[in-house]
């Protein structure tokens, strides 16, 4: 479980996060949704210490991330798997080397053991046999899947995904969403997905925080989302004609 309490963040005069508090539950896919520029990415970067905050607390299973020493923060980070928007695979390494990298850095496993784990992760993301490809040879969906494999190779307790579907076609996006949800259930981890994709929200949104102009305006799950009376949330959710029509049909029924 990850808890954030009263997070404040300014960039000069720009107040990007205003007293943000939320609990990301273990074993669930927790979603942070909102428009572009609403403060989602900065929130996720604050969570993992890539950006500082003006005030507030981030608790990883009760451990205050900002109150522990840098060495302890690094150790805690080894329990976090992160899926970046563009994958962030290391260009000079093959798929296998990318996934094996955290194992080589932090474990004393033999080459055979590491390879076995890499192959297991590749199989888990349906990319068996792609070991020797370079990131430049991968499609967008494959890049995301390799990034997921790298994120789970150390069996993390927390999985953070920054817009995992950006740049993907709807079918591939659903595959990635389902993969994230399956992994969350399988390993009983705390997963946070930062997205503005409503298809993702309806697919995997078990615990959702809607962020707008730096504030959390609404929290709930995907079933509660469509029936919410929250004006800001409705403006965001029903911006798409498809969702507007769905709601109208739902109301008629």
């Amino acid at each position: 479980m990850i808890e954030i309490q009263n997070i404040e963040k300014h960039f000069g005069d720009n107040h990007v996060l205003k007293n943000v508090s939320f609990t990301f539950e273990k074993g669930k896919t927790n979603l942070i949704i909102g428009e572009s520029g609403s403060g989602k990415t900065i929130l996720i970067k604050i969570l993992i210490g890539l950006h500082g905050m003006d005030s507030g607390t981030v608790l990883f299973d009760g451990v205050n991330f900002n109150a522990i020493k840098i060495k302890e923060q690094r150790r805690l980070r080894q329990e976090i798997g992160m899926l970046f928007q563009a994958g962030a695979l290391y260009d000079s390494m093959t798929v296998e080397e990318n996934i094996m990298f955290p194992l080589s850095m932090f474990t004393e496993q033999t080459e055979e053991e590491k390879l076995e784990r890499v192959n297991f992760c590749l199989k888990r993301v349906n990319l068996e046999g792609k070991n020797n490809l370079l990131p430049a040879e991968l499609s967008g969906g494959m890049t995301k899947r390799v990034a997921i494999a790298r994120a789970i190779v150390m069996q993390p307790k927390y999985l953070l995904c920054d817009e995992p579907n950006s740049g993907l076609d709807p079918k591939t996006a659903i595959i990635i969403d389902n993969l994230i949800q399956e992994i969350t259930k399988e390993y009983n981890i705390t997963t946070i997905v930062n997205t503005h994709d409503m298809n993702s929200v309806m697919e995997i949104g078990e615990n959702i925080a809607f962020i707008n102009h730096g504030k959390i305006w609404w929290t709930g799950n995907k079933d509660e989302l469509l029936n919410s009376e929250n004006k800001e949330l409705n403006n965001f959710v029903f911006a798409s004609k498809l969702f507007k029509r769905l709601k109208q049909e739902d109301e008629k029924c």
Binding site: I48, G49, R74, R77, Q78, M82, A86, A88, S104, M105
Partner: protein
């Protein structure tokens, strides 16, 4: 001035992170070998070509300027030797390496920054500054002195070929000049200067790459700024070190 102090502060903070024990020595060793190849071995060609031709030009120009019957012809060898050892090899080659190696370091690290690869390292719990920059600094500091010594040798071969090919100086006169009143400390001085320059090139370029913000244009800008800043610092330290060590 404030901007300069800001950069200096960030540079010191980065170097504090860089100078720390590697997370895993076996990976560090692999990276160091890779960096030696990228930073050092890949520069051998350009150093040989430049040193040879500059050596040849130095000897031709020296002989033209010394075409006086009162001046002994062996002076061409002596002047070429001292020019190459004292200035051309350590300083000029370092300036060229600032362009080649410095821009490569800044753009490599800058690209990693803008594509979130550095963030990915940090998330894994890796000290990204130390992981990426330390092997480059050590590789440069270890390898550049060899490049510079090689440049001196090749430059002198170029000077000899230039002298005997374009002027009427004999090989014996040239060789006599090369050996005449040789001060071995000049080599030490050149190597010490090179070590300083290698540190400047690798760390300053890494600093600009590491602090890149934005996209592809920012990477290009970081690369250019790294070369300019390294070159200015090389010239400044050249003056300071020469003043300290030779005056």
């Amino acid at each position: 001035m404030i901007k300069l102090l800001h950069h200096l502060g960030l540079y010191i903070i980065m170097m504090k992170k860089v100078i720390s024990a590697p997370e895993k020595w076996s990976i560090f060793r692999k990276q160091l070998i890779l960096e030696m190849e990228k930073v050092g071995l890949n520069s051998v060609g350009i150093v040989i070509v430049l040193s040879f031709f500059v050596g040849a030009v130095v000897s031709i120009q020296t002989s033209i300027n010394m075409s006086n019957p009162l001046l002994p012809s062996y002076l061409v060898g002596l002047a070429s030797r001292d020019s190459l050892i004292l200035e051309f090899s350590p300083t000029m080659i370092s300036l060229i390496l600032a362009g080649k190696v410095g821009s490569s370091i800044a753009s490599e690290i800058g690209s990693m920054r803008v594509t979130e690869q550095i963030d990915a390292l940090e998330i894994m719990g890796i000290n990204s500054a130390s992981f990426l920059v330390l092997p480059k600094i050590i590789a440069a500091v270890l390898f550049f002195p060899f490049l510079i010594i090689m440049s001196m040798g090749v430059g002198m071969i170029g000077a000899w070929i230039g002298a005997i090919g374009a002027t009427d100086i004999t090989t014996a006169d040239f060789m006599y000049g090369l050996k005449y009143d040789f001060n071995a400390f000049y080599i030490t001085y050149a190597v010490i200067k090179t070590i300083f320059f290698a540190f400047i090139i690798s760390s300053v370029s890494a600093y600009f790459g590491y602090h890149t913000k934005g996209g592809a244009i920012a990477v290009g800008k970081a690369s250019t700024t790294a070369v300019v800043a390294s070159s200015i610092l090389i010239l400044l330290f050249n003056y300071l070190l020469t003043d300290i060590m030779l005056s």
